[in-house]
């Protein structure tokens, strides 16, 4: 008997020693995404998404909005994946397609097109180096975007991209660059935006890649979450090797990168701390593996509880306007996911598919949840966190510009064909983008300003783009001149170009009457220009719904 009891006690001790430390309150769910469930195809994951979303509706007795119609869906998808409204040709083709899987085919087509990499390069760039109005960074933003675009074009997986960011060389080798006309773009601008400072890099990388907002803990123990000041600096220590000359803003380059440095002095004190991971894990330092490489290994590890989750949440937020955890970079005891099981699953599947972003995007956009209409049945708008109705999102300045150009087939003066993707300082796109930069993080509460309204109503760009002069823009001029089109077809063509849908009966009737009498001056061409102007100035155009 005694032996058996001893044996059981022994087992108990062993169990205690072997078990992982218990999750503390406020930790994100399971300690590691692990490999518990099998890998799901994008279609199957989409079904799972819907099952979990719908379960919550049943719980709260919510009736969801119907699915979006073809026009609504295609426009939304084109903006979210490709960064601009669909070309008229693509819209017509899509509407004419009678196959049941046409929406999934549209997703696949967009993901394979160069629009995806261009748009998502802009999306990630604006997350990594936000303020586009700073001319010092304006010079460098395009470089970061170029690097992102290169990687996205090859569909480099997310973990590899983040690893490259974390271990990027920060000292410019001027000798190697001498005499070369072009240099391979790198993620260096990210470091420049943080002024090469370890504390800034710590805060930025933690927020972006781990979904953990550490900032407050820089000076004192975090008032809300569990982070202590020492923990902040232990994490910042991973970047301590980067040295810049004193007094320099650090915009250009670091002077030195001590690859093995792994301790840092807490600013304003004499205390020195050693580099430690956020979950207080001790790094296993290895010979010839630099400090930042060690960090990258931990951040992008399949077992890192924050990494996949933060990425999945950000991608979700991109498509739905708000994350499963919202605000996206502050998961905590007070800020839990609206659908915990769903976020776990998305993170898990992301890991199982080797952090392939296209996989996750496919699964999200295949889902019925993504296809919900944004039309509200009544003035009583349901809690957006139930995702029973698609939230309205604002457009970025780039999306707006590119959409106007697409709708009007505007001929940008003096632009090089491939410069479309970037903000070339001084160009029409650059000027427009700086006017329309929206500094608000909350995409579901996009607000138009008076200056923006004036620019859209009267500005040179929109005026040129809606010109009847075919040398300036083709859509309107083409429609006006087409002798085979009667007024209803012309109005319909304008709708398809601008709003990616056909006009409703009442709209058509009203506008045909207006055009046929030539507006206030009896001029049919001018009346058509009026209609086009109205479409381009409408909420329906300027918003992603």
């Amino acid at each position: 008997m005694r032996c058996a009891r001893l044996w059981l006690v022994g087992l108990g001790v062993l169990a205690v020693v072997v078990a992982p430390p218990p999750a503390r309150a406020g930790d994100p769910a399971p300690a590691s995404p692990g490999k518990q469930s099998p890998a799901l195809s994008a279609e199957k994951l989409a079904e799972r998404i819907d099952a979990l979303i719908e379960a919550k509706w049943r719980e709260k007795d919510i009736r969801p909005s119907p699915l979006a119609d073809d026009g609504e869906f295609l426009r939304r998808l084109s903006l979210d994946v490709g960064g601009r409204i669909p070309a008229v040709m693509d819209a017509r083709q899509f509407f004419g397609d009678k196959s049941p899987e046409k929406r999934r085919k549209a997703v696949d087509k967009l993901l394979d097109s160069p629009l995806y990499s261009t748009h998502f390069a802009a999306v990630w760039r604006s997350l990594m180096v936000p303020d586009n109005n700073n001319p010092f960074l304006q010079g460098n933003g395009p470089q970061l975007e170029a690097w992102l675009k290169n990687r996205l074009r090859e569909n480099t997986h997310y973990d590899k991209m983040v690893r490259e960011v974390l271990t990027a060389p920060v000292v410019l080798d001027r000798q190697a660059m001498a005499g070369r006309t072009s240099v391979e773009p790198t993620p260096l601008p990210f470091y420049q935006a943080q002024e090469m400072k370890p504390e800034n890099l710590a805060a930025a990388t933690s927020r972006l890649f781990l979904g953990v907002k550490l900032e407050c803990a820089q000076c004192h123990n975090h008032p809300f979450a569990k982070w202590k000041r020492d923990q902040f600096w232990e994490y910042a220590a991973f970047f301590a090797g980067i040295q810049t000359p004193p007094g320099q803003a650090g915009f250009v380059t670091a002077t030195n990168d001590a690859a093995d440095k792994r301790e840092i002095k807490i600013s304003g004190t004499d205390k020195v701390v050693q580099a430690r991971f956020l979950d207080r894990g001790e790094p296993k330092w290895q010979d010839k593996v630099s400090t930042r490489q060690t960090l990258a290994d931990w951040v992008t590890s399949v077992d890192n509880p924050y990494f996949a989750r933060a990425a999945a949440n950000r991608l979700w937020a991109h498509f739905f306007g708000l994350g499963l955890v919202e605000p996206v970079d502050e998961e905590s005891e007070d800020n839990r996911p609206s659908h915990p099981e769903l976020l776990d699953e998305l993170a898990r599947q992301f890991v199982l598919h080797d952090f392939d972003m296209k996989y996750l995007i496919r699964a999200i956009t295949y889902s019925k949840a993504y296809q919900r209409s944004s039309v509200a049945e009544s003035a009583d708008v349901p809690d957006p966190r139930l995702f029973s109705r698609m939230s309205i999102k604002g457009l970025t300045a780039e999306q707006l510009y590119d959409s106007i150009v697409e709708a009007t087939r505007y001929k940008e003066p003096g632009q090089i064909a491939n410069a479309r993707g970037f903000v070339t300082p001084g160009g029409a796109r650059a000027e427009f983008v700086s006017r329309f930069s929206n500094h608000s993080d909350k995409r579901t509460e996009f607000q138009t300003s008076i200056l923006q309204a004036l620019a859209l109503m009267n500005g040179q760009f929109v005026s040129d783009a809606t010109s009847t002069d075919i040398a300036k823009s083709e859509t309107l001029a083409g429609i006006i001149d087409a002798p085979w089109m009667k007024t209803p077809e012309k109005v319909e063509a304008l709708y398809l170009a601008a709003l990616s849908r056909k006009p409703r009966a009442a709209e058509l009737e009203r506008l045909v009457k207006y055009v046929d009498r030539g507006g206030p001056s009896g001029d049919k061409d001018k009346a058509l220009a009026d209609v086009f102007w109205v479409l381009l100035n409408s909420s329906e155009f300027i918003l992603n719904h």
Binding site: N133, V381, T444, E445, Q447, I450, A453, S463
Partner: protein
């Protein structure tokens, strides 16, 4: 977590009609402005004179005569005995009785970018939090949703180093200042700026090819479209779109935009302010305040727009003298005109830069110096005729009553009748006060 709700649904028909009829508004706004000036409940306004680059306190408002650090300028006495400022500010010296010179500003930020952000928002840039600038707060607290003019106007701002310090932050685009005379693209102070044109609101008129009749017809058609869309999408964004267009149209259609026609002023008046961007900008500021705009700011950077004029690392005395010669007549004209119109008691004027400059010369220039520097509060809500706080004899440190940025912001708010402890919902879900926790207004400088 709702934002301040958009105004009540405007009756588009009424507005469009008002636009079409138009002429009934002329003359009305002047009468209204005059009435408002006399009204006891008239809301206050704030004019911020922003000195870009960090003006030298030792050569403007906190001279150290007799000391090794004195420099080349001599002090003169204002109209308040014992209160002395630079000899190159003789006109504004006549308003000593309306000024509280805060000589004990003390911060830790010596970098243009961070210091500008700090002074203009009251906070250091911190990750994703979009702190609103002080102008946006004033627009939010004192502005009116019904006004034809925007509630905040920035004249010739140089936003390059801290664009976030000029924006509405998490208060939203409704409180973004209307910008005229944007000189951010000009880094050097050279190059004449056509200030008449640059002080106008961009894109105020439809393109020439569009006749008035067509412009009106377009608005009518747009109204119909919006009604449909908003009915099916009762969210914040479509409503704000309507609101922005509504205000833009009012700006276009009513006489409100005439406020920006500085050329309507008599030549003699324009001469008094000084025929340069800053001078004419101050004149425009007066016109806007007369029409009830709660917040206007005018930047003095280079000599005629652009640049870090006050950033006198080299050639300090020549530069500061030239800048003072632009600042002095413009500010004095502003004080005179406001007083004449009975508006000085309800208009707070704030004079400040992002930091001061080293009292000890380095070569022939002075470098950044946030340790001990000067800002000036004048006009409405302020007990003038005094200097608040004291720096040491050599100017290197504050001896009495050090003033932090939050304290300064709280004081500005108090002078305007704004509660600086009020919290607003930020974009990260955390409520943030107008002035940071613990900030208390300086009682001694408040009227």
């Amino acid at each position: 977590m709702a934002r301040t709700p958009s105004l009540s649904r405007r009756d588009w028909l009424r507005l469009a009609s008002a636009g079409v009829i138009g002429t009934s508004m002329s003359g009305w706004l002047d009468v209204l402005a005059a009435d408002a000036a006399k009204h006891p409940q008239r809301k206050r306004s704030c004019i911020l004179l922003w000195m870009n680059g960090g003006p030298s306190q030792t050569d403007t408002f906190d001279l150290k005569p007799g000391h090794a650090n004195a420099g080349e300028f001599k002090p003169i006495t204002t109209n308040v005995p014992g209160l002395q400022i630079s000899e190159h500010l003789p006109k504004i010296a006549k308003f000593g009785d309306r000024m509280a010179i805060v000589r004990s500003m003390s911060t830790k930020e010596g970098d243009h970018s961070r210091a500008t952000f700090l002074m203009r928002t009251g906070y250091l840039p911190q990750g994703p939090i979009q702190y609103p600038s002080i102008g946006a707060h004033v627009a939010h607290e004192l502005g009116s949703d019904d006004a034809a003019l925007p509630n905040a106007v920035a004249i010739a701002p140089y936003t390059v180093f801290a664009p976030g310090g000029y924006g509405p932050g998490f208060l939203g685009p409704k409180y973004a200042p209307l910008i005229v005379g944007d000189t951010s693209n000009q880094f050097q102070a050279g190059g004449q700026v056509d200030y008449d044109q640059s002080l106008k609101v961009k894109d105020l008129a439809p393109p020439k090819e569009v006749s008035d009749a067509h412009a009106d017809a377009r608005i009518d058609l747009l109204k119909d479209m919006e009604k449909d869309f908003v009915a099916r999408h009762p969210d914040v964004s479509p409503q704000s779109h309507l609101t922005a267009y509504d205000r833009a149209i009012r700006l276009m259609r009513t006489d409100a935009a005439k406020a920006f026609n500085v050329e309507d002023e008599k030549g003699e008046v324009r001469d008094r302010y000084g025929r340069n961007l800053f001078g004419q900008g101050c004149l425009l500021a007066r016109r806007l305040v007369e029409r009830g705009v709660p917040f206007v700011e005018v930047t003095l950077g280079g000599l005629n727009g652009g640049g870090l004029g006050w950033d006198t690392h080299a050639d300090n005395f020549n530069q500061v003298k030239r800048l003072s010669e632009v600042l002095d007549p413009a500010w004095a004209a502003l004080m005179t005109d406001l007083k004449e119109r009975g508006l000085l008691d309800t208009t707070l004027i704030v004079w400040m830069g992002e930091f001061g400059r080293t009292p000890k010369l380095e070569g022939n220039g002075r470098n950044h110096f946030p340790n001990a520097w000067t800002t000036v509060l004048a006009g409405g809500g302020i007990k003038g005729g005094q200097a608040y706080g004291k720096t040491s004899a050599d100017g290197m440190s504050v001896e009495e009553n050090a003033v932090s940025v939050p304290t300064f912001i709280a004081t500005v708010c108090a002078a305007l009748g704004i509660d600086s402890t009020k919290q607003n919902q930020s974009n990260v879900g955390r409520p943030i006060r107008i002035a940071d926790v613990g900030a208390k207004p300086i009682k001694e400088v408040l009227a």
